[in-house]
């Protein structure tokens, strides 16, 4: 068995998270050593540094094989291209082309990449169940058998893919590790633990290449156990469902959770609720800030379309159109009166000729674009369910013809204007007659009509309840969008004062006024859309009352757990410190069980509701021993139904003993409590 991690970054690029980092060989050494990796690949974004690669390869020889690679940005998704180290020169040339194309376009065209890799015998691994996802339609472009692996984001996705008989690709999970110096950071002791095992003796690139062709050759743990993966550099096994961490104080539970978080936090889909975090979240200021942030997000999402309309309106220059109309009428009248005295220059027909209107009406372009999007969509099966591809193609062809005609007309008019305007200007210079001011009535019409539509839109916008939710069966939140009626509401929306009588102005005049005075008001143009409505969120308990401190904590926790659908992993550290048992039992346990259907869950706890009644899939028991001043940490693990938990060194402990000791205080305390309950039963 070989441990492989074929996705490692050694150079900062603009696609990597900020801040910039410098490559740290020590960090890479530590990553390889902590995880005991046998094979790695260097895969920076759209760049390959041959010198750096050679130096890394030399340094890690012979304990770890290092393959040259690159992470290529396609229009949709990322894809790893990994080469045989014996073909370094050809791979370097290939990478130079990728770099050049990326600098030109910010992505590599699918077809070009297919062409570039066709003779390379490269190991090609698309982001498959990992963002940014490479769509299946792109993968198919490479042809059958060229791509046989897909990268996944975590163990759960790995297991699902491995079990899915319809899925042909071999799942692979790698660290996406950034080799940067973190010696100043507390978490530097932690190592990123994401890799897979490759069964068989993979001593060279070609063997790795061939082994990855079969799903049966990859595993998440040394023992090849199903649905179980390694954490903490392989020292602990964990379930891809619901894990409970137990152990005495300072035995390493939080350390283990931190470690898992570090391995997965790059994926941005990990929720980590730290110890006491919920309590902190309920201090008055913090609670308000958190709710404000949530409100802001909801408000922004709701007004997304309106914001772009306001931004569009702010780019209209109605005032200028009206000034041109004024100039036109004045000069037209003067011109008419002066006709009798006109000279040779003003007699020229072109002197009074009007340029073509400047309005560009792209009537068919938008439709054509829409049809193109439908035709190129990765959801072609869904689309074809309702619209035949043949019909779409015919519509596209017709639109293309019409669009071409419209384009030609605009082109010709533009060319005529190019000739006409300079001649008119020259005639104006030479004549004593007044030239008629240029005035495009359609431009004025367009601007006026936009203003009319905007005013009509804002006046028609209604107060609305945009969200009405029951949180955890006991809290009720209503989100209302209400028209701003008072200065106080306006000030509060912008968190600023001094907007004057802006509320008396019509909608367009209001945004125009705010735009003209944005420096004075200290606001950004992009915020002006907030000048009309505010969001009011009302949260009450089951008795319609305001929330107490404890209820705020419950509300905060449930809100967090409700929004976990987007997460692949949830880590919770001793949440019981903030809540009572009935609440945990009634509202949290079921919720966490459901979450574990979709995400990997780790809970650290001393509470028997969360530790036992939750019916976990897996236990991890952490402990330490002091020996002559030094401390050694241990972790026992195993399925929740197993009689014993064991360490990596096969030390064993009875599951029941651990649970009774840490969840019930001890056998004696458990029996005593049982007796007390029996006595007071009647």
């Amino acid at each position: 068995m070989k441990k492989i991690d074929l996705h490692i970054h050694t150079k900062w690029t603009k696609l990597d998270p900020k801040p910039k980092f410098e490559f740290s060989q020590e960090a890479l050494d530590k990553h390889v050593d902590d995880n005991g990796l046998d094979i790695i690949a260097i895969t920076n974004h759209n760049i390959f540094d041959m010198l750096q690669y050679k130096s890394i390869k030399e340094r890690l020889k012979p304990k770890c094989q290092v393959y040259p690679g690159i992470e290529v940005s396609l229009k949709y998704g990322h894809i790893l291209i990994i080469s045989n180290p014996n073909n370094l020169i050809a791979f370097n040339e290939f990478s130079e082309t990728i770099k050049k194309r990326f600098n030109e376009n910010n992505f590599i065209d699918d077809e070009e990449l297919v062409d570039l890799v066709k003779d390379g015998n490269y190991l090609i691994i698309p982001h498959y169940k990992k963002k940014p996802i490479c769509p299946k339609i792109t993968i198919e472009k490479f042809g059958e058998g060229i791509i046989f692996c897909g990268e996944v984001v975590n163990a759960k996705k790995f297991s699902l893919m491995q079990k899915d008989e319809k899925e042909n690709l071999t799942p692979v999970m790698f660290s996406d590790f950034r080799c940067k110096d973190e010696s100043n950071i507390k978490e530097s002791k932690l190592s990123s633990t994401k890799y897979i095992y490759l069964k068989g003796e993979a001593n060279q690139f070609n063997t790795v290449f061939n082994l990855l062709k079969s799903k049966k050759n990859v595993a998440l743990n040394y023992f090849d156990l199903p649905d179980v993966f390694e954490i903490d550099g392989g020292k602990i096994l964990a379930s891809e469902r619901l894990n409970v961490l137990i152990g005495r104080r300072s035995s390493g539970k939080t350390f283990t959770l931190d470690n898992i978080f570090k391995s997965y936090c790059n994926d941005k889909n990990v929720l980590y609720i730290k110890q006491f975090e919920i309590t902190k979240d309920c201090s008055s200021d913090r609670y308000d800030t958190l709710r404000d942030n949530e409100n802001h997000e909801i408000y922004e999402k709701y007004f997304e379309d309106f914001r772009s309309i306001v931004y569009f309106m702010l780019n209209i220059n109605l005032k200028e159109s009206i000034e041109r109309a004024d100039n036109f009428v004045t000069s037209l009248k003067e011109h008419a009166i002066e006709q009798r005295t006109k000279d040779a220059f003003s007699c020229a027909k072109l002197f009074s000729e009007e340029p073509f209107s400047r309005i560009e009406v792209n009537e068919y372009g938008d439709l054509l674009e829409a049809v193109t999007i439908l035709m190129d969509s990765i959801h072609n099966e869904l689309i074809e369910k309702y619209i035949k591809r043949e019909d779409l193609r015919n519509l596209g062809m017709e639109l293309l013809k019409l669009n071409k005609k419209e384009f030609m007309t605009t082109l010709v008019e533009g060319e005529v204007n190019k000739i006409l305007i300079p001649i008119k200007n020259q005639l104006k210079v030479n004549t004593s007659d007044k030239a008629i001011g240029d005035f495009d009535i359609c431009e004025l019409f367009e601007n006026k009509y936009c203003v009319y539509k905007f005013d009509q839109l804002v006046q028609g916008m209604k107060d609305k309840i945009i969200k009405d939710e029951i949180i955890g069966d006991k809290y009720h939140s209503i989100y209302k969008i209400l028209k701003i009626q008072t200065k106080k509401q306006l000030n509060s929306n912008f968190n600023k004062n001094g907007f004057g009588n802006v509320l008396k102005l019509s909608p367009y005049k209001r945004i125009e006024y705010m735009q003209n005075n944005k420096e004075k008001f200290g606001i950004e143009e992009t915020q002006i859309y907030k000048a009309f409505f505010y969001l009011l969120r009302e949260t009450t308990d089951e008795n319609n009352g305001e929330l107490s401190g404890g209820q705020k904590a419950e509300y905060s926790l449930i809100t967090k757990l409700i929004n976990v659908e987007n997460y692949d992993m949830v880590l919770i550290d001793e949440m019981e410190s903030s809540f009572d048992n009935p609440f945990l039992n009634e509202y949290i346990i079921n919720r966490i069980q459901k979450i574990s259907d979709k995400a990997i869950v780790f809970i650290s706890t001393h509470n028997n509701n969360l530790g036992v009644s939750i019916n976990p899939d897996w236990y991890i028991y952490t402990d330490f021993e002091k020996d002559e001043g030094s401390i050694s940490y241990k972790a026992y693990y195993g399925g929740a139904n197993e009689i014993e938990l064991k360490t990596n060194n096969d030390e064993k402990i009875r599951t029941k003993d651990v649970l009774v000791k840490y969840m019930e205080a001890s056998d004696k305390a458990y029996s005593e409590r049982k007796e007390i309950y029996e006595n007071i039963k009647d």
């Binding site: 009428v329 309005i359 009319y452 916008m461």
Partner: protein
């Protein structure tokens, strides 16, 4: 609505189809008002400019007629473009 009319060898404009004013009295505000009228009204106009006797009125009438014709020929496509732009927002926020 008839916004430009030729009668008794004189050119006139109107803002309501009932009251008419001589074309050489047109102002910027009248022109802006004509543009506003175009939102919801179909325009009609006399085109027999040769019947106007006053030289200055001919020039003004001809130019304004030219502008109105330009507007009439393009206003529906402009309106449709803008209506499209606003339709999603109208659907979302006003219903």
């Amino acid at each position: 609505m008839k916004i430009l009319k030729i009668k008794d060898s004189k050119g006139y404009f109107s803002l309501n189809g009932e009251n008419y004013f001589e074309i050489d009295n047109i102002t910027k505000d009248n022109l802006v008002e004509i543009v506003n009228l175009a939102f919801d009204n179909d325009f009609e106009y006399d085109e027999n400019v040769e019947e106007v006797k006053n030289e200055a009125q001919i020039i003004i009438y001809r130019k304004i007629l030219e502008k109105c014709k330009d507007l009439v020929s393009r206003k529906e496509s402009i309106k449709s473009k803008i209506n499209n732009k606003f339709s999603a927002a109208e659907e979302k926020y006003t219903k």
